[in-house]
Each structure stands twice: as C-alpha cells, then as structure tokens.
Symmetry: C2
Subunit: 228 residues, 2 copies
C-alpha cells in the first residue's frame, strides 16, 4: 500500500521543502521505496537535492511528469504542465511498487496544493511557533477538515529555539489544543540545514551529527513506525 504524505502550509518560509526533502531521503535511506514530487514552481526540492541529479531517460517516464534520480537514487518528479487530479494519481501509483510518496507544496492553498491535499493519506504541516505562522494554522486545518479523503493530519513544530520561552509556551499550547495531532518530534533551528541545501545535499550527507539531521532522523522513525 502506497502512503501519500503532502507537506503543506500556505504560510511562506516555514520549512516545507526542507521537511519534504529530509523525510523523503530519510525514508529512502531506511530502505522504503520512496518518490518525491516537487509541486512548487520554484522547484526548491530539486535544488536542495541537485548534487549529481540525473534526468531519467524516456522509457521510465510517467506521462506528464519529468523524472530525476538524486545522488542517493531517490526518484524525484516534477509536473511538466499544470497537474490535474488524474496526472497526480498516475504519479502516486505508476512505475515500481512504492511505499511512500512525499509531496512538497508551494506556499498557497490553491492549484497544485489543492490536488495534493486531495491525493494525500497524511498531511504534514510544518509550523513555526511564531505569531503570523500560528494565525494561518486555523485556515489550513479548516481546509483539511473538509476533504473527502479524510486524511490524517500532523503538525510538525519547526525552527524551535529552546531558549525562547515563547516557543516552549506555543508548543505546550499546541499539544493541549490538538491532542494526537502534533508530532512527537520537533525540529530545532539549525543553520546547517540551509548550508546543506546550498551544496545540493541533505543534512544526512552534509552533517549527519548536526541537531537538524538528528531531528529529521527521529521524524523518519516516527513516520515509519507510527503512521500506518
């Protein structure tokens, strides 16, 4: 059974691409057959894993999608034209038997993101514990509650600075308000995550002992064992 996980939040710059790429590479490294879909026209997910990226030849292609292989062998797809519900369905099901499809979404709830939310079994919402980012949470939760596919929703606290009281307070409030919907794992602020992306590799390659890499490795374990 293929599990589709959409990484979405209409608020910009909250770590959607960083989370989608590290979750995909982490699952791939732990032996799960994984495919990453870059639904953001800025193609940031492709940029983050651009080192030794190979474009696949025509025979492996899925109609409507451009296929790449990252250095570690992870399959990355990007839509060639505006994606439709049926073309997204093809990307999630065609080709080799896949365990996980991870979708990186643009900062909006329209177009590409709308289709990704409909195709998803799980919706992962990276959330900064800052005022403006928190305001947008209600909006995406309302949108997700209305989905026919009844996906499971998880909020992932990101860019946490443990010395900032506001972050701890917000985290406690989140867990109280959304019991069972907040990941056990939280991601600390770690500048090495940005640095890794500038080398076109994940932090698992660039700095495996960095706090950001350890946190994303914990998320991968939580997804593997907890999200069934």
């Amino acid at each position: 059974k293929t599990r589709v996980i959409a990484c979405a939040n209409q608020k910009g710059g909250v770590g959607k691409t960083t989370t989608a790429t590290h979750l995909a590479i982490g699952l791939h490294r732990s032996g799960c057959r994984t495919r990453l879909l870059d639904m953001d026209p800025q193609e940031n997910a492709i940029l983050c894993l651009s080192q030794d990226l190979q474009e696949e030849s025509d025979k492996q292609r899925i109609p409507g999608w451009k296929c790449y292989r990252a250095a570690e062998g992870l399959e990355i797809l990007k839509p060639e034209t505006a994606p439709t519900t049926s073309s997204l369905h093809r990307a999630c099901t065609e080709g080799d038997a896949i365990d996980y499809v991870i979708i990186d979404c643009p900062p909006s709830l329209e177009k590409g993101t709308g289709q990704a939310l409909e195709a998803a079994h799980f919706i992962l919402i990276p959330l900064q514990c800052e005022f403006l980012a928190m305001q947008g949470l209600a909006q995406i939760l309302t949108r997700v509650n209305g989905l026919a596919g009844d996906p499971v929703v998880y909020v992932l606290p990101v860019m946490l600075e443990s010395e900032k009281h506001i972050h701890q307070e917000v985290l406690e409030e989140l867990r109280a308000h959304l019991p069972g919907k907040v990941c056990e794992t939280w991601i600390p602020r770690d500048p090495f995550l940005s640095e890794a992306s500038s080398y076109g590799v994940s932090l698992f390659t660039h700095g495996p002992r960095a706090v950001g890499a350890q946190a994303y490795a914990k998320l991968v374990r939580e997804v593997c064992h907890g999200w069934t």
Copy 2:
C-alpha cells in the same frame, strides 16, 4: 505625485509583510500621507497592525476595497474580490492626496502580485541571504525586467546575522552583481519584530530602540530622501 511601492518576492517567509508594514508606518509617522494595500489573502499585514484597528464606514469607501484605520491613523485597504488592474488603479489614486502607496504581496508571482508589479513605480524585494532565497532572485528580476511601466527595483537584504560569514559574503556579492539596486540599509535578524506582530503593533511602538526598529527607520529615511 503618488509613489507606489510593491513589496514582492515569490519566495515565502522572507519578510515581505514585516517590511511593508514597517515602511508604511514609518512613512506615515514621518508625515507622508501613506496608504497600505494588503494583497495577500492571508491578511498578514492587517494582523500585524491589528491593535485598535477600526473599519471605516461606507462614506470613505473606495469601490471594491475594504478600508481600515490602524491605531496610528494609517489607512489600510484590502480587496473585497479578486483585484483587477482598474480596481488597483482606483486604490492607488482615489480619496485624499497620497504621497505613498505600499503594497504587501503574497508569496507568488501570479494574480495579485502580477497586478501590483504592473502598478508599481518601485519594487522592493526583501531578500534573505540564504541559498534557496537567492535562487528565486533571478526569477523575480527577469519578471520585473519585462514590465511595461519600467519600475525601479531595489533589493533589501533582511534577517542578516553579522556573525555568519555567509551573510557578509552574499551581501558583498549582491552589491557587486547588482550595482545601484541594493539598498544602503540592511535589516538584521531581530526576534522583537515577530514579538511586535503578536501584539498587533509595529516595532516602532513595541520597542523603538530595538535593532530591527532602528534598521527600518533607516530604510524609511532612504526611501524618503533617495527614491524620487
């Protein structure tokens, strides 16, 4: 003569709203007649200045726009329906004689942002000195170069941490590659900017001596005296 300044960048979370609100309040406080347009459906600019925000009664209304007055008397408009070129033109010209119109744009180059870029005399691009944010710069500069109105473009380096070598290196590279297009002013990372937004006021009110407030005050002076 009304000067229209669009605050735009398709990369998310780079400080568009923080810059638009502080520029608008700063210009207003220095005696310029200023109007802020919130073109982002997330209405973050309105949230940032929500303390004692009053909705204007019908008689002052500009058709197609909802009008508010912030605590300091700044006029804030948000589109009631999807804005058109002519409705945006009305918002920039109708009502009292205005010196500056500041437009906060959503993280995309489509729809609302497209119209704002066409209406603008100046385009202010807040730019984080991080890899992914830098990649998007070429895309928006290409888009802006094609505009019929031939607006003047400025890049504003934001969230700078002076102890990070990469930030200083990027800043120098920016100034070398884009002579005359990078603001003299740069904005340091200052957590009090987020804190101020959670109180619904600008940092000029919440913490006037904070480094973020000082930097935005410098930007206001640069705009007043340099952008003619």
